[in-house]
Amino acid sequence: MKRLVVGAHYGLRDWLAQRVTAVIMALYTVIMAGVFLSNAPFTYSAWKALFAQGWMRVATLLFAVSLAWHAWVGMRDILMDYVKPDGLRLLLRIGVLLLLAAYVGWTIQILWR
């Protein structure tokens, strides 16, 4: 007999999302590591020009959104494991969500000013 134990699939979806977003952030890290380790002089005009490019803005936004999703899953796991009182856990989860939303908003503000 086939029986569906859970219907929402959120366990698999979050597990997969955490890994996909991790790979996206790792690829962005390679770009930034290249920038910081290159011997080109680190000037304002070069820094400004880097973030003025369309692909860099999109990549950075993609990084911020990936970070938000990735950290949401991770913090949810941590809070589930260590914070037992329901009220406090709910409060901390809301805090994490607000913080992540603020980060994404701030990133957009920095990139498209």
Binding site: R19, A26, K48, G74, I110
Partner: protein
């Protein structure tokens, strides 16, 4: 058998002092808990701190020069940045190890211990490389 079970209290719940001082955690456990701690630190305060520096450095030429020469010249800032670099590199390395474990590579005791040590060493080595760059 009866006397043996009477001597020890079971189940034994591990308190934080017990975890820190009484038992020796295997290297995989150390990598696991530091993966969590570094992840939490990256979310807060480090992500906010980096956004602040990105904001200031992209805002104007004065802001860029301030961050580059004055702000990053402070010892406390450098130490904080060093801690960030370690948290990031360690989290990244531990994450790569985790992805391999997900697809059943390196899950046996011996390779799992070896890669655990590699993750710790690689995190510290990368911190040294990028740390040398800011110092």
């Amino acid at each position: 058998m009866a006397s043996a079970s009477a001597k020890k209290i079971r189940p034994k719940y591990l308190s934080l002092p017990a975890l820190l001082f009484e038992i020796r955690m295997p290297v995989a456990a150390v990598v696991s808990i530091t993966h969590r701690i570094s992840g939490a630190l990256l979310l807060f305060p480090f992500a906010a701190w980096l956004l602040f520096m990105l904001d200031t450095s992209l805002h104007s030429e004065q802001g860029f020069e301030y961050v580059k020469t004055k702000y990053l010249g402070l010892t406390l800032v450098k130490l904080g940045l060093l801690l960030f670099i370690w948290a990031f590199c360690h989290h990244l390395c531990a994450g790569i190890r985790h992805l391999f474990l997900d697809v059943d590579i390196g899950g046996d005791l011996k390779p799992a211990r070896l890669t655990g040590w590699i993750v710790i060493a690689a995190g510290l080595a990368l911190t040294a490389v990028f740390g040398a760059r800011i110092w």
